[in-house]
Symmetry: C2
Subunit: 133 residues, 2 copies
DNA sequence: GCTTGAGTTTACGTTAACGTAATAGTAAGT
DNA sequence: ACTTACTATTACGTTAACGTAAACTCAAGC
């Protein structure tokens, strides 16, 4: 019932602010598999969603190979319901890793806060807004 | 008054589980500047602390060039108290970026949770622990 | 019919962050 | 004196993730 709207490569490049080369590279690496109309690539919403996941993965520091693993697992979870135990193991591994990353980020954010207030204090002192004397 | 205990390159390599090459590379890139006794490198607690910061930076996906920037800013904040305004700007930029990364991680964690419970459901169903029928 | 603007493939180039020899100095133990 | 352990420098190699250039196709507009 829903006329699947299709996207061109430039559509996605513009939407996600990446180059055409990047998208072609991701296909070359088997991360997405757009349809073809002649030679031209055509992307579905599903391709778009995968691309979004890929970029999010990149932002949190995952390698493309790891991202592909995860994407495959998504498919696996859709299709076969077995292997779920193995999948669960992989998921919890990844989860642990991400939680560590989060802690790192929190630690850095805390340090930044400290530095910030330190700076503010210095500036206040230099601009005359003294409290002590 | 405090006899600064010094570390050898292997000390730090062992402590942080990195290679000697990595440490030498960081020096080559100007991220740390250990003293020399003859040719041999000797690291202070300050060097050690910097190394810790470097590795934490790496874990949250910063490039060495960015880490160097930040380390420099730490020095700057120690020495000159001016430029603090510029520093504040840089800090808030970095903060914003880190918060985005955190959100990404949270999003991924949430998706993992979903996938996990999905898996558990599937497994329960397959092993007979049905609820509905 | 020609140009423009999308898209395509092929293939070599590039950067970061080390790995990996090869070679050599130096201090300690036997 | 010889080996072992730790250190050093020099320098070429490697992997990931694209960049970039060259050369081509194909439909649209004038």
């Amino acid at each position: 019932m829903s006329e699947e709207r299709l996207f061109t490569i430039s559509d996605l490049a513009r939407d996600f602010d990446i180059t055409l080369r990047t998208i072609r590279f991701y296909e070359e690496q088997g991360l997405i598999e757009p349809q073809r109309e002649g030679r031209q690539r055509l992307f579905t919403h599903r391709d778009r969603a995968r691309l979004k996941l890929i970029l999010r993965g990149k932002r949190i520091g995952l390698a493309l190979s790891e991202i592909r693993e995860i994407l495959d697992l998504y498919e696996l979870a859709r299709d076969e319901a077995s292997q779920s135990l193995k999948l669960l193991q992989l998921l919890s591994d990844r989860k642990k890793q991400l939680e560590e990353q989060r802690q790192d980020i929190d630690a850095v954010l805390a340090e930044i806060d400290t530095l910030e207030s330190h700076c503010r204090q210095v500036i206040d002192t230099m601009t005359g807004k003294e409290t002590t004397a």
